[in-house]
């Protein structure tokens, strides 16, 4: 397949749009009342301006482009010390804003191409992807372990390759292989069954979406799995009656919606297929009155907005042909596709829920610290950062933190353990399943 994934050199003009104003270093809103918060996990931990926000990352890009900076071990390390959360991006107002994560990832692609990236611990992921088609070194057959309770209860989940269904539940590697979050595919499938939906899974044939590889700059590995997936999806559409792909993983969702669209054949493979996050998917049933909560969940909960279902889905209005301001000018943004209100609305509708909001939310949500390969590359820092987020949740008086991303879920859990808090982390589907 042909791909349009930009190199750092191709993004040079964008790099030179950054003024170094440092606006990206904090999340601030006039209000009233004014609100303020740290927004960059890397900045909070490492502190030097180079480590901090897009100001720092673009300085690195600029240094590479103008020949001042060449790879050293520490420099490569600094490029990977970023969760690619986009918190910084949300603060910037200049023309390079829409491509800030691309600038960061393009440096990683360059590092990989030059044979110096990713970091040694992250190389394990690449190796695992090649050997097991998932980043967790999980043998293929383990992928369906979570379905056992359904088999036992005589409600087995369809293998979509064998039995057609209009809905593919794309589970994702984290839910399938990562024990502490394995309850969330279970809860998702349980809700689907309670709703009487005709759905299936790829089972042992499911392979990684490629999100982690892409975030690490391993573009070849990303392309390999993305191409396989797109071909599989086309086959499912053409030959197995699939109309909708539902995924509970924010990373998979972003990859399929955004990263895959960089392929020339994207439309050909995906046209006619609806890709939707579980939360959004269930919301349609909720609106239609088909989800009726019958049980109480008497909890004090707060909600963590994952980056991948939040600001990563912001649509940027760019003057493509120069007719409105000038060619390439960033004109504004729309948060219509971000999953902000939907999870909150469903959460609040669950009887007994006492909802508490944190200070940094929605597009200014503070990243859990696990994305961009950080959880694998810098596990200790990832958990430390998650501890900060958990503390923010605790400060609201909440006892449970709910989210809609297995990655955040896992990392926040680690954070909670690290600060020895009693805060428990749940996926929204777990609460919905409990209340149904």
């Amino acid at each position: 397949m042909k791909w349009d994934i930009p190199s750092l050199e191709e993004l040079e003009d964008a790099v030179w749009k950054c003024t170094a104003c440092g606006n990206c270093k904090t999340a601030y809103d006039f209000g009233p009342p004014p609100t303020y918060g740290e927004i960059c996990p890397a900045g909070v931990e490492f502190g030097f301006d180079g480590n901090m926000a897009s100001k720092g990352k673009i300085a690195f890009a600029r240094g590479i482009l103008d020949g001042q900076l060449t790879w050293t071990q520490d420099f490569v390390d600094a490029i990977y010390k970023c969760t690619i959360c986009g918190g910084c991006q949300n603060q910037c107002e200049l023309d390079h804003k829409p491509v800030i994560p691309e600038i960061i990832e393009s440096m990683r692609r360059k590092a990989v191409k030059d044979g110096v990236g990713p970091m040694p611990t992250q190389k394990v992921i690449a190796q695992s992807m090649r050997s097991y088609n998932n980043p967790y070194q999980g043998p293929r057959r383990v992928r369906t372990d979570w379905t056992r309770p359904f088999k036992k209860a005589k409600n087995p989940i369809k293998n979509i390759m064998k039995k057609n269904a209009p809905i593919l539940f794309y589970v994702g590697c984290t839910g399938a292989f990562n024990l502490p979050v394995r309850n969330f595919p279970v809860a998702t499938a349980s809700i689907f069954q309670k709703l009487g939906l005709d759905f299936g899974i790829l089972g042992e044939n499911e392979i990684c979406c490629g999100s982690t590889a892409m975030r690490l700059g391993d573009v070849d590995e990303f392309k390999r799995v993305a191409e396989t997936n797109m071909k599989t999806f086309k086959d499912l559409k053409d030959n197995h009656g699939v109309e909708t792909i539902v995924t509970s993983c924010a990373g998979c969702y972003r990859a399929m919606k955004k990263d895959y669209s960089l392929a020339a054949e994207y439309e050909d493979c995906m046209d006619g297929l609806k890709i939707i996050h579980t939360t959004d998917f269930l919301f349609n049933y909720f609106k239609e009155g088909k989800i009726k909560f019958t049980k109480e969940v008497p909890w004090k909960v707060t909600y963590h907005d994952p980056c991948h279902t939040g600001r990563h889905l912001i649509d940027f209005d760019i003057d493509e042909d120069g007719s409105r301001q000038w060619k390439g000018s960033y004109l504004g943004k729309s948060e219509d596709n971000c999953l902000y209100d939907i999870p909150r609305e469903m959460l609040k509708a669950i009887p007994g829920i006492d909802f508490r909001e944190m200070g940094r939310i929605r597009s200014n949500s503070y990243c859990c610290g696990g994305g961009g390969g950080v959880m694998t590359g810098y596990g200790d820092w990832a958990a430390k950062n998650a501890g900060l987020r958990i503390q923010e949740g605790l400060d609201t008086g909440a006892e449970q933190m709910v989210s809609i991303c297995p990655f955040c879920h896992y990392n926040l859990n680690e954070g909670s353990k690290r600060i020895k808090s009693d805060m428990k982390v749940y996926d929204l589907v777990e609460l919905i399943d409990m209340a149904l």
Partner: protein
């Protein structure tokens, strides 16, 4: 492309010593980290520091300065580096002292209306903290992530400058580490440890550390006056065809002392963003637009302000002014009244079209000289295809105020940077010759100022600097002496 001076030698023993003072994670000589501090928004040529150090306590700052002084290593302090004057670019390499981690708000005295903060406290942080007490500071239109104390010590200006003057006039006390490492205090906190309310009636020793072209000591704590926020905002907007008419209006209105901010902007600056390259103003658009920001406690007070404003408009019109009540573009008005502003702070309003660079001839100039200087600036700037995007603002009363042209340019292109630099220096000479004085100036400007200065003044500067900093380690090369 960036031109960079050749690197001076890094001494790993020095790095080790610095690491010993502040911890391994807070000191480095790694080039990619140093590189990120080598440039700013301005035309000033990038230069690399040799070491970057982030202290977290006063004791650490003292130890760093003692060590630097002993080893004669240059030190350039930094909080966010957004001064638009290259002030944090280390002319002589050495230590870049990043103070952002000392960022505690030590006290907000809601009764006596002052705050004590550390240098790393940003406008964003202070704004959200003060709002809880319905208090405010004279917020600049800069990045909310920039430092409040750095703004104050550099004679910053903000949304209350027509009423209270410069932000340095709001300083009530300071704790400073001298270049030699000793800790000193100025203002009331020097006499009674816990009293941070006023610099007066003591000698104004805060002047030893404010307004220097390169700061002369490391501020570790600062006391600042803050003010209550009356609930009713009313902004009067008017336009004129000439700066002469605008200056007259601002002077007349300024006489009544009813405004928090009294500012006029040329058509080019009222555009979002500033047009780059220059584009002519439409014939039917007024050349000058002004906003006069007022806050009132009651409706009656607001009405009284309105009455005064009407009187001023009538008086100006009677005298033949082209003054007209007008609508200020909404986005631009928001940018002036909703401060601190994340949108303006991100430089969108200024540099978005040009790409990455801004510098200014920013000056304090008597009101009666605004028009002649502006007329010259306009010629200089348009000849170089740059927009005359000029702002004028009264500072507490009517005797002087800001006259500043915000000049965007594309950082990618050295010829365009040089074009802007030359234009700005030319503008500055005109202003200096008319009695204006540049603020937060890069070294290029310092040279022009000192060339014109009374020899006694330069000598006094030298002696004072020498007394504070006998080894000339702080901001080496910045004073253009």
């Amino acid at each position: 492309m960036t031109e960079m001076s050749t690197e001076s030698k890094i001494d790993s023993l020095i790095t080790k010593k610095l690491c010993k003072i502040v911890g391994e994670k807070n000191a480095t000589d790694m080039k990619h980290i140093r590189y990120a501090y080598s440039y700013d928004l301005s035309f000033v040529k990038p230069k690399l520091p040799d070491y970057v150090v982030m202290p977290t306590s006063v004791e650490q700052v003292q130890k760093i300065m003692e060590f630097a002084n002993q080893e004669k290593i240059s030190v350039t302090p930094f909080t966010a580096g957004t001064n638009i004057g290259g002030l944090c670019i280390p002319e002589n390499g050495g230590i870049l002292l990043d103070m952002k981690r000392m960022n505690n708000i030590i006290r907000i005295d809601e009764e006596s209306h002052y705050t004590i903060i550390e240098p790393g406290v940003s406008h964003a942080k202070l704004a959200s903290a003060l709002a809880k007490y319905n208090l405010r500071w004279s917020w600049p239109v800069g990045p909310p992530s920039a430092s409040v104390s750095s703004n104050a010590i550099c004679h910053g200006i903000g949304g209350l400058s027509a009423r209270y003057g410069l932000n340095s006039e709001e300083i009530t006390s300071m704790e400073v580490v001298l270049p030699t490492g000793e800790l000193v205090r100025v203002g009331s906190c020097a006499i009674q440890e816990d009293a941070w309310h006023s610099c007066l009636p003591l000698p104004r020793m805060d002047g030893l550390f404010t307004g220097w072209l390169g700061t002369t000591g490391i501020i570790t704590k600062i006391g600042l006056r803050v003010h209550p926020v009356p609930p009713i905002l009313k902004v009067f907007t008017a336009s004129t065809q000439t700066l002469g008419h605008m200056a007259s209006y601002l002077r007349t209105l300024g006489n009544y002392e009813i405004c928090d901010d009294l500012t006029g902007v040329s058509w080019w600056l009222s555009q979002v963003p500033i047009p780059y390259p220059y584009k002519p103003k439409p014939d039917d658009a007024p050349e000058w637009i002004s906003f006069a920001t007022t806050f009132s406690w009651t409706e009656k007070e607001k009405q009284a302000r309105e009455e005064i404003w009407r009187m001023v408009v009538d008086e100006e019109t009677k005298n033949g002014s082209s003054l007209k009540e007008t609508v200020y573009p909404e986005e631009a008005l928001k940018a002036r009244t909703q401060l601190p502003s994340q949108i303006v702070g991100s430089t969108k309003n200024y540099t978005k079209q040009a790409g990455a660079g801004i510098s200014w001839p920013g000056t304090f100039t008597p009101l009666n000289k605004w028009e002649p200087v502006y007329d010259e600036w306009k010629k200089i700037l348009t000849a170089r295809n740059l927009s005359p995007s000029v702002r004028v603002t009264n500072y507490r009363g009517v005797h002087y105020g800001m006259l500043r042209a915000m000049i965007p340019f594309p950082k990618k292109d050295p010829a365009s940077i040089e074009n802007a630099r030359q234009a700005i220096v030319e503008c500055l000479k005109v202003d200096l010759d008319n009695g204006g004085i540049p603020y937060k100036p890069p070294v290029d400007f310092g040279v022009e100022i000192n060339k014109r200065a009374h020899p006694g003044y330069v000598e006094l500067l030298k002696r004072t600097k020498n007394m504070l900093d006998p080894n000339n380690i702080m901001n080496t090369g910045k004073l253009a002496l």
